[in-house]
């Protein structure tokens, strides 16, 4: 049984459709990452799962129960906010106890004094106390249970927010860019911490981020979104090695995949006037195509020849273990200069590269690591023999 099913869900804000007919099904125990640039609708989709946002059409099923008309509190979910959204007037302990308190809440608890006494009684019940003790131990919060959120560091607040989500032991955890307010170092350690928690406590996670590293490292499934549509849904490996279109191809990977304009003349793959060695034979009429190749699947040479793609170095970046070289082709163009990138092929070279600007080089593409996209639609061409 799948943990979450999203069937034909759409969302309109006025005339604007921000989520378009989405269908996804996630298995129990999955860690789904909704990945995409800002404004792609990933957060809206998450909020619709939570019930913070209504859906315009379609249905959402969580744990076999249709929930799209239920208030958030009845969906058996927990939500971790980007801003943590801790209750500033409550201590860490009471922040964590709050969801449990609400499960037993009665209207008359709002009355002063006797209401407060009733709330104290619930908060001090063994069930609540034990759960909080357990969760705070897992999260290492035991020492700060009686402190207030404003006295905690960002990472500590993040843990409290996770703890508040975990005490409910919900079917589904929903997280909206929970790490984006942390500094880079802390983000890395929290990343593995969340993965660890996922393994330790189980449950289904849905995690929204715009950071591909988080997506690749944490997600068992990734849904890459753009303009309210899921571009590709699959494992991290699928998405990296087998992108469905140029958008996915360019979104994942640093530097992103090179897209070299080429022409398929029915028999040969022509880049400019040069026919290149390609392990591809598409059953395709002659047309313009884009040659997708990751920067690490290209080798550089300083000796030029007429059978290789020649060009000159226009940029050299040293990023520690690797160097990134941008090569402008003499006789070929890339298809990604429209979004402000250099009209150049990016190549990663291990070690510290001694090439200098303006130097003439030639590149060789690993024929086994090429993929092909239609120049017209950007869709992957898979009809290979």
């Amino acid at each position: 049984m799948s943990a979450i099913e999203i069937n034909n869900v759409s969302k309109k804000f006025g005339a604007k459709e921000v989520i378009r007919d989405i269908n996804v099904s996630i298995d129990e125990g999955d860690f789904l990452v909704l990945l995409g640039p800002s404004g792609c609708g990933k957060s809206t989709l998450l909020r619709m799962l939570a019930g913070l946002e209504s859906i315009s059409s379609g249905e959402i099923v969580i744990g076999g129960k249709r929930v799209d008309q239920l208030p958030p509190g009845d969906r058996d979910i927990a939500f971790v906010f980007q801003s943590y959204a801790l209750y500033p007037h409550l201590s860490v302990r009471r922040n964590m106890a709050f969801p449990l308190l609400m499960q037993e809440f009665r209207l008359w608890y709002h009355l002063p004094i006797i209401g407060a006494m009733a709330k104290r009684r619930i908060e001090n019940s063994p069930r609540v106390v034990e759960k909080i003790a357990k969760m705070s131990k897992i999260l290492g919060l035991t020492d700060m249970l009686d402190r207030f959120p404003r006295t905690l560091s960002g990472g500590q607040r993040q843990r409290v927010a996770l703890g508040r989500a975990m005490v409910r032991e919900p079917e589904v955890f929903l997280m909206d860019e929970p790490l984006s307010n942390l500094d880079a170092k802390l983000r890395t350690s929290m990343r593995s911490e969340i993965s660890r928690l996922h393994k330790e406590i189980g449950g289904t996670f849905v995690y929204v981020t715009h950071d591909q590293v988080e997506a690749m490292t944490m997600g068992t499934k990734i849904a890459l979104m753009r303009d309210g549509i899921i571009q590709q849904f699959g494992t991290a490996r699928d998405i990296y090695t087998d992108p469905a279109n140029t958008y996915v191809a360019r979104f994942i990977g640093t530097p992103p995949m090179n897209l070299i304009m080429a022409k398929w003349d029915g028999a040969r793959m022509m880049v400019g006037s040069l026919a290149i060695a390609a392990n591809l034979s598409p059953t395709l009429a002659a047309s313009d195509v884009l040659l997708g190749v990751r920067p690490n699947a290209i080798t550089l040479a300083t000796d030029l020849s007429n059978d290789s793609l020649n060009g000159e170095v226009v940029m050299v970046e040293h990023v520690g273990a690797d160097s990134i070289i941008a090569v402008r082709l003499k006789d070929g163009r890339t298809a990604h200069n429209d979004d402000g990138d250099l009209d150049a092929v990016m190549v990663t070279v291990p070690g510290y590269c001694m090439l200098s600007m303006g130097q003439a080089v030639s590149i060789t593409i690993d024929p086994h690591q090429m993929i092909l996209f239609s120049a017209a639609t950007g869709e992957r061409i898979r009809r290979l023999t």
Binding site: F13, R47, L52, E53, P71
Partner: protein, 305 residues
């Protein structure tokens, strides 16, 4: 802006909830403010006696045309205008000055910040009483002090002098409300970006320039808002003036609300009183509209929209 709207939408629960939340205050205001107001509006077209307010012979525009023809209204309007403008200028001016003074660090600053609010806390009736005594021509400390200082002004009959009563009332009003503007501006001053001030200092700006480039743009919306509030409060201030001069002498402090009260409760002519009220209300509305236009324009000028 956009985000706020989206956010609002996303929080919407049951469609009735906002109405349920707004209902108590809506009903309350309807009953205790707008229903009486509508009665007043109607009354302004009638000849109504204070003693028989339920007998309202309809007279059309007669109350209004009387006010316009009589000429007294123009004096009332000019007194109101002078009083209001002076209140705004001095209350906000003194408030701004004291706020700047209290913003800079010195020993006992928090105590000074607390003490300055004393006038704001004093009830109007008590203020009227003490200032009447202070301004007393024979025994008032004000005149005695002026005489001690050897000023020609000493011995004046402040509240009974047609040209001095308004300044005296103004001094009292400013004394009472400047702490409010001071505290509000002081709060706004906390939002002045320190970096901007430092940048101005490094650029070699003097104090006035620092104020103009760093301080003023930050507090300007607050000052505008204060202007609106002080204006409206001045338009409707009653207790202080009534208890100190009853609008006299010879109409020197006769603002619209005082004239309204006189027409209604001295002359017992509720119809005319109501029409003065309506004129005053239109002026207040006009001021508000101008305020919002000005705010809009300055925001546009500063590229905030």
């Amino acid at each position: 802006m956009k985000r706020a709207q989206l956010a609002r939408e996303r929080l919407d629960g049951h469609p009735w909830t906002p109405y349920l939340f707004a209902a108590p205050v809506g009903i309350y205001l309807l009953l205790f403010q707008f229903y009486p107001l509508i009665q007043q509006f109607y009354m302004s077209f009638t000849a109504t006696d204070l003693l028989t307010p339920t007998v309202n012979p309809f007279v059309g525009m007669e109350n209004y045309s009387f006010l316009i023809e009589d000429g007294e209204l123009w004096k009332v309007l000019s007194v109101t205008a002078i009083y209001t403008v002076a209140c705004v200028v001095f209350a906000i001016g003194v408030g701004l000055g004291s706020a700047l003074l209290l913003d800079s660090p010195f020993i006992g600053r928090s105590l000074a910040r607390a003490l300055i609010t004393i006038p704001w806390a004093a009830p109007s009736v008590a203020v009227a009483l003490i200032f009447t005594w202070i301004f007393n021509s024979q025994y008032g400390i004000f005149n005695r002090a002026l005489t001690e200082l050897g000023l020609q002004l000493g011995g004046e009959n402040w509240l009974d002098n047609a040209s001095l009563a308004l300044p005296a009332i103004l001094l009292t009003t400013v004394w009472q409300i400047f702490p409010f503007s001071s505290v509000v501006i002081l709060a706004a001053l906390q939002g002045v970006p320190q970096e901007l001030k430092e940048a101005a200092v490094i650029d070699g700006a003097d104090r006035l320039n620092i104020f103009k480039t760093a301080t003023w743009p930050t507090i300007q919306p607050t000052v505008l808002m204060l202007t609106l509030f002080v204006t409206i409060w001045s338009l409707r201030r009653f207790d202080l003036i009534w208890l100190m001069t009853q609008g006299g002498p010879i109409g020197a402090t006769n603002t619209m609300v005082i004239e309204l009260y006189r027409q209604g409760f001295v002359y017992r002519d509720l119809g005319t009183a109501a029409s003065i009220g309506m004129i005053g209300l239109s002026i207040a509305l006009l001021v508000t509209v101008i305020y919002f236009k000005v705010t809009q324009m300055t925001e546009q000028a500063q590229g905030k929209r």
